[in-house]
């Protein structure tokens, strides 16, 4: 696991319709669907790829998506 203290992932439950796309696309299985809503099971494993945000149909997820690469930091 890497440095997760500054992770920007946010889930707005009020907008979530429980479609499950966030769970499908996440490569680190951060999300699960319980009682028709997404929940953050493993937030510390999030690498901020942005797949969840991009696929969410209601804009319930926000993350400052980028690549975890030293060369990319200005």
């Amino acid at each position: 696991m890497y440095i997760s203290k500054y992770n920007t992932l946010k889930l707005e439950l009020a907008k979530c319709i429980g479609c499950g796309l966030c769970k499908t696309v996440c490569p680190h299985r951060v999300f699960d669907i319980k009682k028709d809503r997404a929940i953050l099971m493993r937030r510390e494993h999030c690498l901020e790829c942005g797949a969840c945000m991009s696929n969410c149909p209601t804009g319930a997820i926000e993350v400052k998506a980028g690549v975890g690469c030293a060369y990319a930091i200005k």
Binding site: M1, Y2, I3, S4, K5, Y6, N7, T8, L21, T24, V25, C26, P27, H28, R29, H45, C46, L47, E48, C49, G50, A51, S54, N55, P57, K64, A65, G66, V67, G68, C69, A70, Y71, A72, I73
Partner: protein, 360 residues
Amino acid sequence: MTLQEIMNRPETPYGDHHIAHLIEGYSSVGGKQVPVLSRDITSKDIFGEIKVRCGIGRYNYYYPTGLYLIGEAKAGLPVIVTSNFKLTLDKLRSQLKLEGYWLLVLDTKGINVWCAAGKGTFGTEELIYQLTKWQVKSKLNTNSVIVPQLGASRMSPQIVKQLTGISIDYGPIRAKDLDVYLANNRVADESMRQVHFHWKDRLVLTPLELINNFKFILPAYPVLVGWHYFTTGHTLSLAIPLIQLSPLIMMNFLGSVVFPLMLPFLPTRGFSTKGITLSLPVSMLILANSSLFHLGNNILSMLSWFLIYLIFTGFITLNFTGSTTFTSFSGVEFEVKLFRKIAIAIASIALLSAMVGYIF
């Protein structure tokens, strides 16, 4: 964005020299000739992989975008979306045993799916462009395409459906799971959806790291020759600076090969700090045998070298963050900004130490 805006852009032509030997024939699809590719991995493909893994022609290992067929054309064949990185194509061709399938190749500028997704080249617009250009819905008579899960980062299935009528089914992470995924009616189990970073995955990255990191050592040679001339008034044997730099070559090996292999076992969360824990004992061993490396016995110049070994290893191991499957942007940003400040401070101390050591 409208469909017109997406379609209204120039296309990048890619030569087919990397795949010409794989074309077995052509299949006519809606008046267009679609290449049929073989499943064989030839020696040309194997050498091609070795070369790119060592950084040779790494950014030119592409092939033309568009539609391809593997196997025999018939109704109901799945359409699998992929990048135009030739190595990805080879993994698909060799690992997918399915009798027949279409490949829809996106313009990722010769970059693999996950990196291209992060950059946005493997994304909603490019998928819409290729789906529309090749009239996939009507010509291949399909309502859905399979997109690799790692292609999801910049993909909006809702917009793709809206503009093309095509739904996205997210396939597994790894090509080798595609057969089971398709046999299970496009359902992936948890293990197929979890990305890994096993030791073999880390090992294949080491040649490129080792070769790329050498370029940071090369300029040190003329700098050392110049330093010797400045401090002694004449040019020493040209071999001596090489011997003095051999510890840096060892640090490169530590940071580029040993570090990736030992990654899960090294203490601390930061990559630069993990690298430093690895180089600390080796640096001390080197300095305990300083005469062997012509580093002198001046305590200040030894301190200078010691600090240089630490910063160098920390720097190259920090750069490895871009090659992993789990580092986040926010975490890397934090570590890089902190490391830069600390590295500048340590480099200043190293330089000061070297100069004071020379003066006294």
